[in-house]
Amino acid sequence: MAPFDRERRWRGLDEGPRPPRATLVALVLAAATLMTLDQATGPDSPVDALRTVVGEGFGPVETATSALVRPFTAVPTWFKQKDDLREDVRELEAENAALREQVATVDYDRNRLAEFEGLTRAAADLGRSLVPARVVGYGPAQSFTRTVTLDAGSDAGLRPDMTVVNADGLVGRVLRVTRSSATVLLAVDARSVVGGRIGRTMELGFLRGGEDGTLDLELLDQKVVPAQGDVVVTWGSDGAGPYVPGIPVGRVTDVFASVREQSQRAVIEPFVAFSSLDVVGVVVPDGTATDRALVEADGEIG
């Protein structure tokens, strides 16, 4: 009996070699019943109560499992995202640099815009066409001249002895030009002589570069005493002289009599800040051929 038993057990006949059909049918029916129950009864089915029970029991298990596995599942994303993050950092750094530069230059840009606007206004005020140019170089102090370089030259229609102004007033005159640059002698240079006229009395004189960025006005009529605050404009002439007439130069701040030369001398504070020149305009005849936008006499950009 025992070997037979063993034989049967070895064959696994204790539960039968085939799955029990009765159980299968019962369970399939149970599943079908469950489905029908859930499907037919709609929202208030008894299955929903079951669902709630299972959910309340199993929800915490899922939460715990998720909390357990999260550190491990985060590892591949960490590796994967490191390159992404590096990329992000690179992009953001570039963007940051661009924005910084923008912030750093916004004042400068605003000032340039203001200068250009001032230039158009000056052109309208003077009634003359201007070629806008930018100061790109300053003569060194050890050369003892006050000159600057403009980024416009003969291609822009510039010629020697043209008047250079900015929105505030007289800057100087063009000494020489190349195709793409021009050298300007500033009015405050010691070699510079500008014919000046006191606007109030129409008295004439000569303006020379003085000390500390001022101009000395020497009047022709020695008996005339200029008053403080008088505005000096250029005397000059159209066509002939290097300076066109009527450009504001500066204001009289001090007057004294020169005993040796027997003339009245006045110290003129120029309107133009020569140490911070940027955008200037070169007075050109109307209709000058230029390779850049010309500020017309009516203030329009042509």
Partner: protein, 173 residues
């Protein structure tokens, strides 16, 4: 003995379900995760008794139907897992099945289980998407289950072998 079996079986199914809904979504491929509960049921069918496998399949299916992320008509997974348990039980042999047989059994079970689930959904009028989409999902699921078989089945079968007298004999053989 029977109570212990039921308890351990339920525990394994719960563990499988927890991993299936909490761990594998992180690794999901096109949203498809391996059906660990199905693998456990197949393991039970291959090592434990058929009756046990059927009951475990039903219990695991009902749990899959009711546990939180599920939102379909209850009983669909129960039905498909019962069928899977039955089919896998028929494959069961007196000696330990070869690796190839186990893999084939898992592939067939996975295909049938997921298909039955999808078909029941079609019958019940649940939104499933087009047939090619369903077939794609089933294919990915089969691949996933095959991939996970070496990690789940030996372990689960060992556990169930310990619990079944016949299985113990077979494990020794």
């Amino acid at each position: 003995m029977s109570l212990a079996r039921a308890a351990v079986g339920l525990l394994v199914v719960l563990l499988a379900l927890a991993l299936q809904v909490s761990l594998f979504p992180h690794l999901a491929w096109q949203g498809v995760v391996p059906n660990l509960v199905l693998l456990v049921v197949v393991a039970a069918a291959l090592s434990g008794g058929a009756q046990f496998a059927l009951l475990l399949g039903f219990a695991g299916g009902v749990l899959l139907d009711l546990a939180p992320p599920a939102d379909h008509v209850a009983g669909r997974w129960a039905l498909s897992l019962v069928l899977v348990a039955w089919i896998a039980s028929r494959v069961r042999q007196e000696t330990r099945p070869s690796t190839l047989a186990v893999l084939g059994c898992v592939a067939a079970s996975s295909f049938i289980g997921t298909s039955v689930f999808a078909l029941s959904g079609l019958v019940l009028g649940e939104p499933l998407g087009s047939v090619p989409e369903i077939l794609g999902v089933i294919a990915v699921a089969v691949l996933w289950d095959l991939l996970l078989t070496p990690f789940v089945l030996p372990w689960a079968m060992k556990v169930f072998d310990r619990l079944t007298p016949a299985g113990r004999e077979r494990a020794r053989a």
